[in-house]
Symmetry: none
Subunit: 186 residues, 2 copies
């Protein structure tokens, strides 16, 4: 399990979630509280900054795309406040370039959404190189991942199938068929 350091109640390491998607924050917050973290949420860089300054968190989950600014500056900031902070960068618009940058700035890991709480936990525990038995259970199947991703882009585009298909670079007919089929469990 994750061990906490010295701040706060030793049984509940502090974790800061920074994401402008309020719903996402809530869901994640709930899931991680259950896992024994003491969660704080912020939806803007400014909020996150001031929160971090008053009490530096031991863990942080930062979304790359925060309104206008890049979450990267926040990673840097958190690192400066406490080099021991473990930071996982999250993004729905992943790119290799930003991943490289994030890690160089001191992020512990970089994950593309959608992710679930278990994957984030694994990312926190992950160290370089070694096998660290990723134990974990069950990442989503590729089919499931695809389904969730499609749903996300679809809602982001007002359920416009044609537009979504173009963005996702897949044929409308194919998207139609996928949508018609599986809500695909697990």
């Amino acid at each position: 399990m994750i061990e906490s350091s010295l701040t706060d109640d030793s049984e509940h390491p502090s974790l800061l979630i920074v994401d402008d998607d309020v719903v996402f924050c809530e869901v994640l917050s709930k899931a991680l509280t259950k896992r024994g973290f003491s969660i704080t949420c912020a939806h803007t860089i400014e909020d996150a900054m001031s929160l971090a300054e008053t009490s530096t968190p031991e863990y942080a989950i930062v979304d790359l795309k925060l309104s206008s600014e890049s979450g990267l500056v926040l990673v840097e900031k958190l690192r400066n406040l406490d080099p021991g902070t473990r930071i996982v960068m999250l993004t729905g618009y992943a790119s290799i370039a930003t991943a490289v940058e994030a890690i160089k700035l001191g992020a512990t890991h970089y994950l593309a959404k959608p992710v679930d709480a278990d994957e984030i936990m694994a990312a926190f525990e992950r160290t370089v190189g070694e096998a660290n038995i990723p134990i974990s259970a069950h990442p989503l199947s590729v089919g499931r991942l695809e389904w969730e991703y499609i749903q996300r882009i679809l809602t982001e585009n007002d359920n416009n199938i044609s537009v979504t298909a173009r963005i996702l670079n897949m044929h409308r007919r194919t998207l139609q068929r996928k949508l018609a089929k599986r809500p695909l469990r697990e």
Copy 2:
């Protein structure tokens, strides 16, 4: 311009290219020689290791997919020999997962092939601070998302294809085939 450190003739910093594609090595070698480097090539990890041990290079360009083994171990090795070595990782099968890993192991930068000499030069000179990365506009295509996801689970499992296939609930043969293909651009 790149400044050389203390080994060799101060005007010709040593640079080790490691790639199993002989032609690629030659082309790159020529281009970088013109830019003032003293080039050495290796096509296998073993060769690279012994070359590096006899004379640690100041710069290195390492391909990720070296025949059987991963070029990542070489990154680690080079770093251990001399933490000052600047290493650029190259690969035709780029993924966020391997990029993260490479940077954590100490690579200076990570580039997807095809690249040209100028990009590599720029990568060597790059420092953390600024590179003004456009906070990517578009979501990944479903194909790309799948590729990234597979890569992630794969690295989390020591590149064990059989295990990964089981976890992802897909056939090993299918995973083999997907991995054999290059990731689609964007």
